[in-house]
Amino acid sequence: MPPVFGMLFDGIAYGMLLFLMSVGLSVTLGMMNFVNLAHCSFAMLGGYVAVTLMNAFGWPFLLTLPIAFLAAAAASVVLERVFFRRFYNAGELEQCLLTIGIVFVSIAGAAYIYGTDQQPVHLPPYLQGSIVFAGLDFAIYRLFLIGIALVITVVLIATVEATRFGAQVRAAVNNQRMARGLGIDVDRLFAITFALGSGLAGLGGALAIAMLGLDPSFALTYLIYVLIVVSVGGLGSVAGSFVAAMLLGVSDEAGKYYIPAFGSVLIYLVMMVVIMWRPAGLFGRR
């Protein structure tokens, strides 16, 4: 098998990770138009929770994942109640600044508690190593990552398309005023969606440690990529986030593979081209 498939595999794995970290932001932005730049702080929180449980308490890796999800979701509920709620009707700039402030505080907090070094992660032996197939190495961890993400994607899309909750989410994203008029409790819906989205980000953060590393700058570094996924995919769209994440994950790997001197340029170029062609994103409205 030509090496390009190996590159595609890595790109897809990276894309899955980006998807988990981005889908929550896309849906909440689409629903409430609330620009939450602190979204990746929740991812970072999930990562650090997983690390603490593994290294300080000796928990097995797999068990830390649901806890990472819950911790991030819980933190988001608190922040939403205390801060975000007051800014749903504020301008974009205020929302950006408020949430950037929270990012800075979270980065400083992480640096204070954990220091600035990369966090070590000890994967269980069955997730280490790689499978050799058709002459290429496929890392088992990445297979695992892709597997989990696919399952979650299916569950998400099924929820959005086939459940009443999902229908309400779609209605609220589409036209908030109309949804309220129909009797949908949009505020409660948003709180739940926000918690779910942040939880997924936390899960993504925990899964990311073994692939992207974890240090306090995570919240800012990956924010840029998450924003790119969200704006390329379109606000409020699960499918959009998925497609955009795949596109960007593969582009990034392709860029590093074929033109290593230019680093992340390919991702930025793809983003600019898509946004100029479709300002609302690939699957966005308006």
């Binding site: 700039l93 600044l97 980065i107 400083a108 640096a111 840029i224 930025y268 600019m272 300002p279």
Partner: protein
């Protein structure tokens, strides 16, 4: 009713003229900028950096505070100006004033070209495009290390004396005078713009961009113009940095610099012309005082400050002052 007679006597032209007049607070501010020469002569280098950053923040205010364009990549034009002036010097021409001109023209040209993209978008798409332009330029500069010196930055900048007379001294007297004069002159231009019909259009775009076409305004053309002007000013600020510090590195066009100047402007208060310089003063003096502190802790306090400003003082320092002043001096009776 009393206010009606006041308004009737105070004709419309006179009212606008009164708005254009220099307030004593403004004069006091500019006189105060001369104080560092006398009060803190050891800090003139810092003062010159503050003046330069204040100019940069002023240029951002023109597009953000007055026109409502949120840019996360304004440092692109700052860096362009810095590298232009720096490269001119490295290639043998270190004359500062022409260097300033060249930097302004180059940054302005880049601003003009990118303004065609910028003017077409709003909201999140616009924010992401400004971010993208900044990041792309950063990557390009990083890759073209044979020109930009890459991570190490430009080496070998030497700025000639201004007007062949004023040599750059170690104490920063020349640097601060130079930066201050440029800041003041550029400020005069900005002030002119704000009080012109064009300035009124910009505020119209900021207040209600949707309404502008309905009154016959060529909104995109207006945005392109102010964006180009802001790029020229940012480029001039960058050139000042290159010339006074005789160094230019990649961070001049980096995301960090774009974010920092945004924080400074918000701190000072947007849409008030003085918010940029004031924010720069407060931010950079504080950073200098706490320079021994670990960078993480610095960003902790900046984060808290941002949250506090957004929650309690959304119009920044100047906004808070204006509010306090209005509460303390109830001149007009409320109808």
């Amino acid at each position: 009713m009393s206010s009606a007679t006041i308004d009737a006597a105070f004709g419309p032209r006179q009212f606008l003229r009164a708005q254009n007049r220099w307030r004593w607070t403004e004069i006091a501010f500019w006189l105060a900028t001369l104080l560092p020469f006398v009060l803190t002569p050891d800090y003139l280098v810092l003062a010159s950096q503050i003046a330069i950053t204040g100019l940069f923040a002023l240029s951002l205010d023109l597009i953000l505070g007055f026109s409502g364009i949120i840019s996360l990549g304004h440092a692109a034009y700052f860096g362009m100006g810095a590298y232009t002036a720096g490269l001119l010097s490295v290639w043998g021409w270190g004359e500062p004033l022409t260097g300033l001109l060249a930097a302004g023209v180059t940054a302005g040209l880049f601003g003009y070209l990118t303004s065609f993209i910028i003017a077409r978008f709003r909201h999140l798409a616009l924010i992401m495009i400004t971010l993208g332009i900044g990041l792309l330029l950063q990557e390009a500069a990083n890759s073209a290390s044979f020109i930009t010196g890459g991570f190490d930055g430009l080496q070998g900048i030497h700025t000639w004396p201004i007007l062949n007379r004023f040599d750059f001294d170690l104490y920063g007297r020349t640097a601060y005078s130079y930066a201050l004069v440029v800041l003041f002159l550029t400020f005069l231009v900005a002030r002119r713009i704000i009080h012109s019909p064009f300035g009124l259009s910009l505020r119209g775009i900021r207040e209600n961009g949707q309404r502008m076409p309905a009154i016959g305004a060529a909104t995109r053309a207006h945005i392109r113009t102010i964006y180009t002007i802001a790029a020229v000013m940012a480029g001039i600020a960058g050139a000042l940095l290159a010339q006074t510090t005789e160094t230019v590195s990649l961070e001049t066009l980096g995301f960090q610099r774009s974010a920092d100047v945004l924080v400074m402007l918000i701190l000072g208060g947007t849409g008030r012309l003085y918010g940029g310089p004031i924010g720069a003063i407060v931010y950079m003096v504080a950073r200098d005082q706490f320079s021994g502190l670990n960078p993480q802790y610095w960003y902790f306090w900046i984060g808290l400050l941002l949250i506090a400003v957004v929650m309690f003082m959304p119009d920044g320092i100047l906004g808070g002052l204006a509010l306090a002043l209005r509460r303390l001096t109830p001149r007009r009776a409320k109808d």
